[in-house]
């Protein structure tokens, strides 16, 4: 039971930390966009235009690290959004860890299936669609 408590507390901390870090990146990114007046070679008004073609398809994820180093607002926001996407995924990992340490084989299998689905959506599906 004590173990369970630890996992719940850790989960709660991960969720909170994930949301806060992501918000920090998003807010910094927005500030940088307004300060620089542009991001990723697009002007601020292009980025803010709903009917322009500037959407997530045109933001390569490999550009995140160089973009962040170059203080590019677009990549700060991208980083923030991806931290947000990964936050619930890390929770599944901690749950998997707790099931392994509590020797609960059926739930180990179930968490692996959930993780499989998540990574299938992330890695396999985009390649199928191209």
């Amino acid at each position: 039971m004590e173990k369970q408590y630890d996992i719940d507390t850790i989960t709660s901390h991960i969720l909170k930390a994930g949301v806060l870090t992501s918000l920090l990146f998003i807010i910094t990114g927005i500030a940088l966009l307004f300060i620089n007046g542009q991001g990723d070679h697009y002007t601020l008004s292009q980025i803010a235009n709903f009917n322009s073609t500037f959407d997530s398809k045109f933001i390569p994820l490999v550009g995140i690290i160089p973009g962040i180093l170059a203080l590019d607002g677009v990549y700060y926001i991208t980083m923030g959004l991806w931290i947000l996407i990964f936050t619930p995924i890390t929770v599944v990992f901690t749950a998997l860890y707790s099931f392994v340490s509590n020797r609960n084989p059926s739930y180990v299998v179930m968490s692996i299936i959930v993780l499989f689905n998540l990574f299938f959506a992330m890695i396999v599906v985009p390649r199928l669609l191209i």
């Binding site: 307004f34 007046g37 009917n51 926001i77 923030g80 959004l81 990964f86 749950a95």
Partner: protein
């Protein structure tokens, strides 16, 4: 300079829409995204594709934000949540791929129609929810033992430990698969369906149901979000504004909810939501060229039907309460 101020105003306006969506979403229990998509697409002329993308992202933010409080109090059942996530994540993949197909073939009017129908139908179970804290006792079944569906939590209001027994796991999995499809297709958390799966099918107490659903929504939305990202459905300017807005809104909503003493005021929010639902339905039918009339007539029809629907449900609920009291 004025152009920059204009863009800043635009950002703050979308953020405000997020705040409103977050407040309404948590006051009605339907979640911010369900309100955000109609707000953005009907009043901010955001293309539906970006509206759903932004709300899927915001769904993760609110789910993680509120779940962090619930898991700490040990009300949410992480085990049951993970087990059911097998179905929701699979459903989310199917749903997002359906969305990809729909948008690629210019059927986006169907998204409006399905959204309207889902919003209106999820209002009914949401309204009837929460009459009792503890579900009627049910005999444990085969699934209960195999999947360890028993648990307990400390109820602060009742001041005692409430233990529960989950049953009919297979049925919940089936409902969760559909919840996942809806989430991936419409960019919402589909909490109403998740609650239905755990409350009605598995016979779990309402507190466990809502908190577990809250924690699950984030995982489901993360699945859909990755597909949305690669397909270009996420416009970062909008998504950034709504993620911040909805998070603030749902935080405020939770604070307001505790202070509302008159339960009848919630009906006003339900009326707003049913108005949005009918508007989405009509807009979809209009875009699909099934109906032809001006926007003024459309708003008129939506308002009247929303009021009728909510008054009808209100009277039905009141009558149910009276019958419940006399029995």
């Amino acid at each position: 300079m004025s152009a920059v101020l204009f863009i800043l105003a635009k950002f703050l306006l979308i953020m405000a829409a997020g705040v409103i969506a977050g407040i309404l979403g948590s006051l009605t229990g339907l979640g911010g995204a369900t309100v955000l998509v109609p707000l953005l697409s009907l009043f901010f002329s955001v293309p539906i594709i970006y509206a759903t993308g932004a709300s899927l992202i915001s769904t993760i933010a609110t789910s993680a934000g509120s779940a962090s409080a619930y898991t700490k109090k040990k009300i949410a059942n992480v085990k049951i949540g993970i087990g059911l996530e097998m179905a929701t994540t699979a459903g989310a993949i199917v749903g997002s791929l359906t969305a990809v197909y729909v948008y690629a073939h210019n059927f986006s009017w169907t998204i409006y129609v399905i959204f309207g129908v889902v919003l209106l139908t999820s209002l009914i179970p949401t309204i009837h929810r929460g009459k009792y804290e503890e579900p009627p006792h049910r005999q444990a079944d085969w699934w209960t033992k195999v999947f360890q569906l028993q648990g307990s939590y400390y109820d602060e209001k009742l001041k005692k430990n409430v233990s529960y027994t989950g049953v009919r796991w297979w049925l919940a999995e089936l409902i969760m698969f559909f919840a996942g499809i809806i989430s991936g297709l419409l960019g919402i958390g589909s909490g109403a369906l998740k609650v239905l799966g755990m409350d009605w099918a598995m016979n779990l107490p309402m507190k466990v149901t809502t908190t577990t659903s809250n924690f699950m929504i984030g995982i489901t939305a993360a699945t859909g979000s990755t597909i949305y990202w690669y397909e270009g459905y996420i416009q970062i300017f909008i998504a950034a504004a709504t993620a911040i807005g909805v998070l603030i809104g749902s935080y405020l909503g939770a604070k307001i909810l505790v202070r509302i003493t008159n339960k009848d005021i919630r009906w006003l929010f339900f009326a707003i939501l049913s108005f949005l639902g009918i508007e989405m339905l009509l807009k979809g039918l209009y875009l699909g060229k099934y109906i032809v009339y001006g926007p003024t007539t459309e708003i008129y029809i939506s308002s009247v039907s929303a009021v009728l629907m909510i008054v009808g449900l209100y009277l039905h609920q009141k009558r149910g309460d009276i019958i419940g009291k006399t029995v």
